[in-house]
Point group: C2
Chain length 640, copies 2
C-alpha cells in the first residue's frame, strides 16, 4: 500500500497515511486537533488548512473563496493526500487552549460567586461514596478469634458503615499482611453504595492523608476536571481542555455519525480518554500528587458523552424513538476505559434522563438546589442543544431542543468557539452603524463566538441594521452593510481593524441560523411551562448554566427573544453545573443519591413530535417574538 | 546453571531441573503425582521411588530398609539429582485413580440412597443464584422510550427478580445489539445475591437451554466435581481425581508449610486448579458441552483449601490464635483463578466457620438437614482432622481435632489411601490368629487404608492379638505376631499372600498412632456434648460424612472406641456432604442463604487449650475406653 508523510505546522506533527486518505484523517492520526464541526462531510467549512507543499486532490467548495483558494486554502475533509505534504493549520482552525474562566461582573443577572460555592459546600456533610478509612483493631486472641475480614467489618461498623460489607477478591489477598504489618492499623478504601460497602484496597498503617477524587465534566466541546480533597471537600486543582473528539465533529450528532464508521466509536473513546488523561497529568502535577492519591472518579456529561466514554454504541440515540442503552450506569474500572489510574480506581458515570437530557443537566439541577427547594426554578444549558429543566421539590419536567451549532460558532460563516481571538462582545452605534468589538483575551479578532453573535444580533436589531425578520438593511449610509459573495452582510471587523487579517462579517444566512436557534430554545421554554400549566411570571429563579451562560449577556439574549423577558434579579449564572454536580457527588453520598433520585423522578418531554413546540417555534422566528406582549421591556430601534 | 533431565516411568514424563534439586521437586515439575504425606521433609517415608539409571546423592533413612536400598529404593525428597536420571515410581507411591464410589450395603448404620438424594432434591424449589433468564420485551416507542436497561429491568421484575438490578459494564456494552438482534427477546445471565441482582451477560434470543453449574468439593485428598443441570436440578456428570497438591504434602498442615516456600503458595493454587481443570475437561466431554454452558461454579472445601484456591496465604491459620483471612468469601472470576472457563463465569466459595472448620462441613451439615430439624444430630467427618458439629434448629456447636494422618494411611508403616490395592477389610480368626483381607478393587495388596486399619485394630483386639493398651502379644502360637525391625508387629499379608510382593505388617508404633487418633476424635465428641450439657443418648442421628465414612464399618469403629456406642439405626452415612452442599447451593438461593446463615450461627470451640479435651483424650487412649460403661456393647476377646 502506498503511503505518504503529512507534516502539520506549527505543531510539527507527522502522520503516515495511505494514498487517497483525507487530510482531516491525517490530522486525526497525527493528533493535530482541528475544528471540524460537521465531522468531515464538507458542510461546515471549518477545517480550513493551507497546503504549503505537495500534491493534493481537492474538491471545490463555496466554503473557500477563490481568493483564499489561490492562497492554498482547502477544506481538509475534502482534500485527498496524493504525495508527501506540508500543511499549515491557521489559528481559526486550531482548537487552541481553553481560556481561563474569570469571575466577572455580569450586566444582567447574578453570577454565583466563589464565596457562595464555598458556602454551599460547607452545608454538605463530608461523607464520600469512596473514601479511605483508618481502622484500628485489637489483635486476635484465642478467645476473640474472628477472621480478619470479620475484624475489619467490625471496625467498619464502628466507623459508621452500615451496609453489608463485601471484600473485593484482590483486597482479600492483601488482608492478612495488611492487618499484621502495622499492628492491626489498616487503611481501607471503601466504596459505599446503597446496596453494599465494597472494600477495594487494604493498606497497612495510616494512608488516609491526601486522598482525592477526580471530578470531570465531559463536555462535547470542553472537558473540565478537578481534584477534590476528601478531607476539606474543596478542589485542590482544576484544569480544562478541548475535548479532542472535536476533530471528529463538533456536535453530538456528528459524533454519533462518526461512531458508526469502522473503528469510529473506539477512536472517539480514545480521544476523550486522551483528553482526560492529559487533564489528569496536569492536575497531578499541579497538586504534586500521583495516581495513588485518587480514590475514585466521578464523570458527568451528556448522554452521548457518557455512552462514548463507556464504550457504548450511541447509534440508537439518534434513531427514532431515540433510546439510550442506559441512563444509569454501574461503576466501571477507570483503567479499563483507558484512564491512567490505578487498577482499583473506579469511575462513576453520573446518571442521565434521556438520550438528549444528560447527567450534565441532572448534576447541575441538583447543584443549583432545585430538587430540594419549594421555589419554582428553570435551569437552562444552551449549546448545540438547548436543554432545560423546570420544577421544584414537587415535580421536575425537562426537554431538549436542537439549537443547531450557531451558538457555538457553527453554521455561521466566521463562527468559532469562545477561544482567544473570538469576538465576544459587540456594540453597534445607532447613529453611525459602526461596531465596537471585544475579543476573548483581547487578541486579534479571528471570528465570532456565540455570545458575540447574540450581542451583534441584539445590537444590529436595536440600531436598525436588521429588521424584526432579521433582514439586513443594505441601504443604510454605511459601508458596513453591503451585498457580499453570499448575499447581504454586515462587517463586524474589516481586515486591519484591531489587527484582523480578513473581513469578519455576519451574513443574512448566519442571522437565519441564529433566529432558528433562538426560536427553538424559546419555544421549548414555553412548552415546558405549558406542560405543567405555569407561566413565565411563576418562575422564581432562572438558572443559566454552562460556558455559554458564563459569556452570555442575558439582557441581549432577552432582546433577541432567546431568553424570556424576566427581571435581572431572576437570572442566575451558575457556571459549570455539571462539574459542580460531579464535585458534590464525590464528597457526599447523600448528594450522589439525590442526583440519582433526581434523574429517576425527572419527566422528559420529547419535542420531536410535539405540535405546540412546532407552533411556538414558528411564532418565535421574529425579533424578539411575534407576540410582543411576551417581551414588554424590548423596544425596537432604541437602546434597552 | 547446570541442569539434568529426569524421566519418570511408567508415565514417561520428563522434567529438566537444576543440579542438586530433589527428585520430589523434579516429579512435581514433571507433573508426576507421587505420595508425599509430610510435604517433603523425609518424615513420612511415602515418596519411595526406584533409581533405575543415573547418579544421585541421597540421605540414609530408616524409612528405607537395607534390603530395599539395595534394590535402588530412595525417598525422592531426600535424593538430589546430580545427573540425568531414570526413575521408576512403584504403585504404592503413585497417586493412582480415585476408585469409583459404589452403593454398597453397610454393616452398621444406613447409607443415604440415590433415591433419597433425589427426594431431597425434589423438595428444593428451583431458584438458582445464577441462571439464564429469557426476557421478552415490547419494542420501545416514542411514548414508551425507556432506556434498554430500564426495559430489561422491567422484564426482570416480571421474571420475579426483586433486588436492585445492576448491569456489569461488559454486559452494558452488548445490551443495545442483544436487544435488537432477536426482536427484543434476550437471554440475561443474572446473578442474584441478597444485596443485588447482577446482569453479567446479554445474548440475543433464547439461550437458556443446557445451562449448567459446576459444583466442586475441593478435598485435601480428592477433588470431586459435578455438572448440575439448572432446569432439572440434577447432576448430568460427575468425576473425581486426587488433588494434585498431594505431591506437596498430604494433610493441610504440610500444605500450609509448603505454601511458605518461595513460590509455594502459587504452586499449590496451580496444582488444585490443574486438578479442577482436568475434572472439568472430563465433565464437559461426558456431558457433550463447552465452557459456555457453565453459568457459575460453587466450591466447597475446608478453610485451607478455600484459602489456597483463592490465592490467600494460609500462614496464619497455623499460628496461634489460628486466624483465617476470611470465612465468608466474595464471588471471584473463575478465570482469574486459572479455571478454564469463560471470562464472565464466577465462582462462589462456600463459607467456613474457623481455620479448622470449613465450608465442606457447613455444606454437609445443611445438606443433612440438621439446621432445619428439631432433632439433635451429630455430624462428623474424619480425615487427618476430625471435624464435628452437634446441634439442631436451635443451636449448632462445632469443633475439630487433629487426628493425625493415621486414618488416611499416614504415620503408619504400610498405610496408604483407599485406592486400588489398599487393604480395606480385615478379619482375624480368634482361634488361629490368621487374617482374611479384602483390598480395594480386589487388587494385589500394596498397603492398608484407614478403614482397613480400624478393622484390623478391632479384629486384633477382639481376637486377643493386642490388649486394651494396644500392645501386641508376640507370644501367641502364630508367626503372624513377631518382633520385626521396628519392634512388635502383626503381618496382615505375607509376601506372596494374594500376590503381595512384600510383607504388609501393622507395628505397635502404627497402633499407637491409631490409638491417639481415635482418642482425639472420641474426646472431641464428648467435649462437644458436654459444652451444651447433653449426653450420648440424646443424639438422634449420627451422620458420618466423607469418603472415610463411606468405607468405614461403624461397628468396628465402635469396638475400638473411635465412635460412640450407639445403636445401628442412629448411624447415617451421607457420603460427600460437601459436594451435596455445593450442589444444592447451585440450584437454590434459599439453600445458599441457609448455608451462609448456618456458617454464621455455628459456634466453634477451640480444643487446643481445652483441659476437658486433654483429660478426655488421655482417658480414651485405651480400647475401647478407660470408662467401659461408655461402651456397654463392646466385649473384649469376643466377636461383637
Amino acid at each position: 500500500m502506498k503511503t505518504h508523510k503529512v507534516t502539520f505546522y506549527p505543531d510539527n506533527r507527522v502522520a503516515e497515511v495511505a494514498d487517497g486518505e483525507s487530510v482531516l484523517t491525517a490530522a486525526i492520526a497525527a493528533d493535530v486537533h482541528i475544528t471540524a464541526t460537521c465531522g468531515g462531510d464538507g458542510s461546515c467549512g471549518k477545517c480550513r488548512v493551507i497546503v504549503d507543499d505537495g500534491a493534493i486532490v481537492t474538491k471545490q467548495t463555496p466554503k473557500i473563496s477563490e481568493e483564499d483558494a489561490a492562497k492554498g486554502y482547502v477544506l481538509s475533509c475534502l482534500t485527498s493526500v496524493t504525495s508527501d505534504l506540508k500543511i499549515l493549520v491557521p489559528p481559526e482552525t486550531r482548537l487552541g487552549i481553553v481560556p481561563e474562566e474569570t469571575e466577572e461582573a455580569v450586566a444582567y443577572g447574578r453570577m454565583m460567586t466563589a464565596a457562595e460555592e464555598a458556602e454551599s459546600l460547607d452545608a454538605i456533610t463530608l461523607d464520600p461514596p469512596v473514601s479511605r478509612l483508618l481502622l484500628k483493631m485489637t489483635p486476635p486472641t484465642l478467645d476473640d478469634n474472628a477472621s480478619d475480614t470479620v475484624r475489619l467489618t467490625r471496625a467498619l461498623r464502628q466507623a459508621g458503615v452500615t451496609e453489608p460489607v463485601i471484600f473485593k477478591p484482590v483486597a482479600l489477598k492483601e488482608t492478612a499482611a495488611a492487618c499484621r504489618e502495622a499492628e492491626w492499623e489498616v487503611t481501607a478504601t471503601v466504596r459505599r453504595d446503597p446496596e453494599q460497602a465494597l472494600v477495594t484496597m487494604l493498606q497497612p498503617g495510616d494512608q488516609t492523608s491526601r486522598a482525592v477524587a477526580l471530578a470531570i465534566d465531559v463536555g462535547t466541546t470542553t472537558v473540565v476536571a478537578k481534584l477534590i480533597d476528601l478531607e476539606t471537600k474543596e478542589a485542590v486543582a482544576e484544569t480544562s481542555a478541548y475535548n479532542r473528539q472535536i476533530s471528529c465533529g463538533e456536535d453530538v450528532i456528528s459524533r454519533i455519525v462518526f461512531a458508526q464508521r469502522p473503528g469510529g466509536q473506539a477512536r472517539l473513546r480514545e480521544l476523550v480518554v486522551d483528553t482526560i488523561n492529559e487533564a489528569l497529568r496536569r492536575l497531578l502535577a499541579a497538586a504534586d500528587m500521583t495516581q495513588d492519591n485518587i480514590v475514585a472518579v466521578y464523570a458527568a456529561g451528556n448522554t452521548i458523552m457518557q455512552h462514548l466514554l463507556l464504550g457504548l454504541n450511541p447509534k440508537y440515540l439518534r434513531e427514532e424513538p431515540y433510546i439510550p442503552t442506559a441512563t444509569t450506569f454501574p461503576w466501571v474500572r477507570a483503567r479499563e476505559l483507558g484512564l491512567k489510574l490505578g487498577p482499583r480506581t473506579n469511575l462513576y458515570p453520573l446518571p442521565c434522563v434521556a438520550s438528549y437530557l444528560g447527567a450534565d443537566i441532572v448534576a447541575g439541577v441538583v447543584a443549583a438546589g432545585i430538587p430540594a427547594s419549594e421555589k419554582l426554578s428553570l435551569y437552562i444549558d444552551v449549546g448545540t442543544n438547548g436543554e432545560m429543566v423546570l420544577g421544584n421539590n414537587e415535580y421536575l419536567v425537562s426537554c431538549s431542543c436542537s439549537a443547531g451549532p450557531a451558538f457555538e460558532g457553527g453554521g455561521v460563516k466566521y463562527g468559532m468557539r469562545a477561544t482567544f481571538g473570538a469576538i465576544e462582545e459587540v456594540l453597534v452605534d445607532p447613529e453611525t452603524y459602526e461596531p465596537t468589538i471585544k475579543t476573548v483575551g483581547g487578541k486579534r479578532p479571528i471570528g465570532i463566538c456565540g455570545s458575540g453573535l447574540i450581542d451583534a444580533l441584539a445590537e444590529m436589531f436595536e440600531a436598525g441594521v436588521i429588521d424584526a425578520k432579521g433582514k439586513i438593511n443594505v441601504d443604510l449610509p454605511t459601508d458596513r452593510t453591503r451585498i457580499g459573495p453570499s448575499g447581504p452582510e454586515y462587517a463586524l471587523a474589516a481586515a486591519g481593524d484591531n489587527g484582523a487579517d480578513r473581513d469578519i462579517v455576519i451574513t443574512e444566512a448566519d442571522i437565519d441560523n441564529l433566529m432558528r436557534a433562538k426560536a427553538a430554545v424559546f419555544a421549548a421554554v414555553m412548552v415546558l411551562l405549558d406542560s405543567v400549566s405555569v407561566s413565565l411570571k411563576d418562575i422564581d429563579r432562572f438558572y443559566i448554566a454552562g460556558s455559554f451562560g458564563r459569556h452570555l449577556d442575558a439582557a441581549r439574549a432577552v432582546t433577541i427573544g432567546l431568553l424570556p423577558d424576566l427581571p435581572a434579579d431572576k437570572f442566575f449564572y451558575i457556571g459549570n453545573g455539571s462539574l459542580w454536580g460531579a464535585h458534590i457527588s464525590a464528597v457526599s453520598r447523600d448528594k450522589r443519591a439525590e442526583i440519582a433520585a433526581t434523574a429517576a423522578r425527572m419527566t422528559y418531554l420529547d419535542l420531536s413530535t410535539n405540535n405546540k413546540f412546532m407552533d411556538g417555534y414558528v411564532a418565535a422566528l421574529f425579533l424578539p417574538h411575534t407576540d410582543a406582549t411576551l417581551f414588554p421591556s424590548v423596544k425596537t430601534g432604541a437602546r434597552a
